[in-house]
């Protein structure tokens, strides 16, 4: 899930873009509309596969919504896309007063689009908005431990939690966007959901459902008026239509390009593909909830030996992705290097035999969504082909995304399934949500490990925590909790 600094990304990508158009100027090709080739581009159209669910902040957890409205609203804190470090945005400083109390100091002189001032009230209002049942925020569950938000001074906020909440900053970074209390109160949430007001770089202009969202540069933006004056999101569900819109110059930028189309885009002359590491990881879950061979650690290890991640990355993803060896990605703050399983089909075979399974007669089911992650169903089919090499027959079951998720939630999955998880910056949310009994997303559960996870999560001491996560990572690899695949790469066409 790519949440951070989309705006920054856009800017950096545009540098590439303007270089391109300048290069193309000589050819007299001016199909790029709304852009005279010689001056720097001041408007940009970004194609998205789907509409934002709503334009009000702090409601919809969907990344599509989030990415778009982050241009309108600002967060208090953001995270560096590469290092994973926290960067102050509307909050200048934050500190942990005690286990249950946090204090944030806010930036002064920031204005909302409607001219109102940003202050501590806005922060309180925004957090209270999440907590208020009436607003039915999907974020609420993550914030239930927050007990009270107090305005200390116009630019100081104190947050009290009911129990120790070490990942609060994480929550603030990932979830919280600042709304204008006066405006929302005045027009009501329904209206605010259609015509949003924030402190972000872009002001809302027009939203045509399932068609486009038009934004324009906010003159009084605290970080300086954006160079690009007009920003438009256009919603094109079909990739091929998206691509053709891009190639015909209707769209300047879009995300999630299938790896095999890169060549085509690059050969277009005016375009480039930019790769940005995503905070989402992809993995092959080995379902221990299901009564079957996956309950056996040896089988899980054998599968780790049998799947050649390098080949998958190279052949299916054309190298677009970063291989993972353990439960956490490199970007994760608690990442440590773990001893992985090398590709060794012979060893896999013998381990299966050890576990009492004849590879030739073993038949497994592999569920995959289709089109949710880059090349997901193809990856599944390739994994099936790899396992076939050691004699294991794999039936690939491709699910429509909703059905896939429901199957996982309802614990109806069979042996294996493919899923992605993000953002994978924070060890707590990642490990807790993946490897405990209540969370079905890796469908791996080990009683001892679970106890260890809860124990580590509750630690407040940074070093102890880190150590705890380090141990966990090693044990998870040892127990072959899953087959880690890779950290996704986001591909942008510009």
């Amino acid at each position: 899930m790519k949440k951070n600094a989309f705006f920054l990304l856009v800017l950096s990508l545009l540098l590439i873009l303007s270089a391109c158009t300048e290069g193309a100027a000589g050819t007299g090709d001016s199909k790029d509309k709304g852009n005279s080739a010689t001056t720097e581009k001041d408007s940009i159209v970004i194609a998205f596969e789907a509409d934002a669910g709503t334009l009000i902040a702090n409601s919809d957890v969907n990344y599509v919504t989030d990415t778009q409205i982050r241009n309108i609203y600002d967060a208090l804190i953001e995270r560096d896309g590469k290092t994973g470090e926290f960067i102050p945005v509307l909050a200048e400083e934050w500190e942990n007063v005690d286990e249950l109390t946090w204090k944030l100091k806010l930036k002064e002189g920031v204005k909302f689009h409607n001219g109102a001032d940003f202050d501590a009230n806005s922060v309180k209002y925004s957090i209270d908005y999440i907590l208020d049942d009436a607003n039915q925020s999907f974020y609420k569950s993550r914030w239930v431990d927050v007990q009270e938000v107090t305005v200390l001074s116009p630019y100081e906020v104190q947050i009290k939690t009911a129990k120790p909440f070490p990942s609060l900053i994480q929550r603030i970074t990932e979830d919280l966007l600042i709304m204008e209390p006066g405006y929302v109160e005045e027009v009501g949430t329904d209206e605010a959901a259609k015509k949003p007001v924030g402190t972000g770089a872009y002001k809302f202009v027009e939203w045509s459902r399932d068609n486009y969202l038009k934004l324009e540069a906010f003159e009084d933006y605290w970080n300086g008026t954006p160079k690009i004056k007009h920003l438009e999101f256009r919603y094109i569900p079909e990739f091929s239509s998206r691509l053709s819109a891009f190639l015909s110059g209707e769209v300047d930028l879009f995300k999630n390009i299938p790896v095999d189309s890169i060549g085509k885009i690059e050969s277009d002359g005016n375009s480039k593909v930019a790769e940005v590491a995503s905070a989402r990881i992809n993995y092959l879950a080995l379902n221990t909830f299901h009564d079957g061979p996956m309950k056996d650690e040896k089988v899980r290890q054998a599968l780790n030996y049998a799947v050649d991640v390098d080949e998958l990355l190279e052949a299916v993803l054309n190298g677009h992705g970063t291989k993972m060896t353990g439960p956490l990605a490199v970007i994760n703050t608690a990442y440590v290097e773990t001893e992985g399983y090398d590709f060794d089909p012979e060893k896999a075979k013998s381990m299966l035999k050890e576990a009492g399974y004849d590879p030739e007669s073993l038949e497994l089911t592999l569920d995959t969504p289709n089109g949710r992650y880059p090349m997901d169903s193809q990856v599944a089919q390739a994994i099936a082909a790899q396992l076939q090499r050691i004699g294991v027959k794999v039936n690939v079951q491709v699910n429509e995304w909703g059905a896939h998720l429901e199957k996982i939630r309802n614990r109806e999955m069979k042996d294996m399934f493919i899923l992605g998880w993000g953002p994978a910056f924070d060890p707590q949310s990642t490990i807790e949500n993946l490897f405990t009994e209540v969370a079905p997303y890796s469908s791996f559960y080990d009683k001892d490990l679970e106890a260890k996870i809860y124990e580590t999560n509750a630690l407040f001491n940074e070093d102890e925590r880190f150590k705890g996560y380090e141990e966990l990572q090693h044990s998870l690899v040892e127990k072959a909790a899953w087959v880690p695949l890779w950290q996704q790469a986001d591909l942008y066409a510009v």
Binding site: S59, N211, P237, S248, E400, R409, A439
Partner: protein, 305 residues
């Protein structure tokens, strides 16, 4: 006539209510959508709370009763995703869908009726054979494939038309053609066969025997007789065009009701699906009703009674 209208109206209401009932139960059977809406780390309590709010925890018949009571008042609940009232969201897409459906309907009629009439009149000529081949082919081409091909040629290769989206008339062209392709084929065939049928009728022979020239015979006499069955077919197809343009709307990113429903299905956003189904069933029933009236208007045998 009036009680015929009343009777048909009652029928419309019954059909729409039944349609809602069926979809309600189908959707309730399909399980609950919590997985797609709540964040993956949502705890049990929140899931329960969410289900509670959606009413999934109550007995089915009570859910149904409440749903129907609200539905007839136009209240289908809020979209699970955007938390807005479902019905306005659906109604919002209606103009785009109408625009596409009606323009492609007009386009197909504009092509199909003259083509069908001419084909029937010049039966077995080269022209007729070509037009028949064209129509058979037209019915065999899957619309999504045609859409992709059109995008490939006109948008990606020639850059003369936008590949998708809505806004100007230019945006309308490709989806309109895609959607019209099948109807053109269907209407042409139908017009041709109806015309052939009518041209065999005794009264055409009568008109011929009183010296009516061929052009007038076909253009005025036979066409008016053919209109009755054609109207029925067109009405049926308009309904299909309105709701069945799902594929075209998705391929061309057309912000209409079909695409909305498709997405809502994927998202399990059931209030929207229900509201959409309600609107489509209603439109379909109303169109049929209007077609019946039109039919009665064109056909004096019904009108006078």
């Amino acid at each position: 006539m009036l009680d015929y209208v009343i009777k048909r109206l009652i029928q419309v209401v019954v059909v729409v209510l039944l349609a809602l009932t069926v979809v309600f139960f189908l959707i309730r059977l399909s399980g609950d959508p919590t997985a797609l809406f709540l964040p993956p780390d949502a705890p049990r309590e929140q899931i329960e709370e969410f289900r509670e709010k959606l009413g999934f925890n109550r007995p089915l018949h009570i859910q149904y009763g409440e749903f129907m009571v609200n539905a007839v008042q136009g209240d289908f609940g809020q979209s699970l995703r955007s938390r807005e009232d479902a019905l306005p969201i659906v109604l919002d897409r209606l103009p785009a869908t109408f625009q596409l459906a009606i323009s492609s309907l007009l386009l197909s009629l504009l092509i199909a009726i003259p083509l069908g009439v001419l084909s029937a009149f010049k039966r077995n000529s080269v022209f007729d054979r070509i037009s028949v081949a064209f129509t058979v082919l037209g019915q065999a081409v899957p619309s999504f494939w045609l859409g992709l091909l059109l995008i490939y040629f006109f948008a990606a290769q020639l850059h003369i038309l936008p590949s998708g989206g809505a806004g100007s008339v230019v945006h309308l062209i490709l989806p309109m053609i895609t959607l019209a392709a099948y109807s053109v084929a269907r209407f042409t065939r139908f017009t041709r066969s109806t015309m052939l049928d009518v041209l065999r009728k005794d009264y055409i022979r009568t008109a011929k025997a009183s010296g009516v020239p061929t052009f007038r015979l076909v253009g005025r006499y036979a066409l008016k007789n053919s209109l009755i069955p054609i109207i029925t077919l067109v009405a049926l197809d308009l309904g299909t065009l309105l709701g069945g343009a799902v594929i075209t709307e998705v391929v061309f990113a057309w912000p209409g009701i079909g695409r909305l429903l498709m997405q809502s299905l994927m998202n399990r956003d059931f209030p929207i699906v229900l509201a959409g189904v309600f609107i489509i069933a209603l439109i379909y029933a109303v169109i049929n009703f209007v077609a019946d009236l039109l039919y009665a208007y064109v056909n004096p045998q019904i009108r006078v009674k």
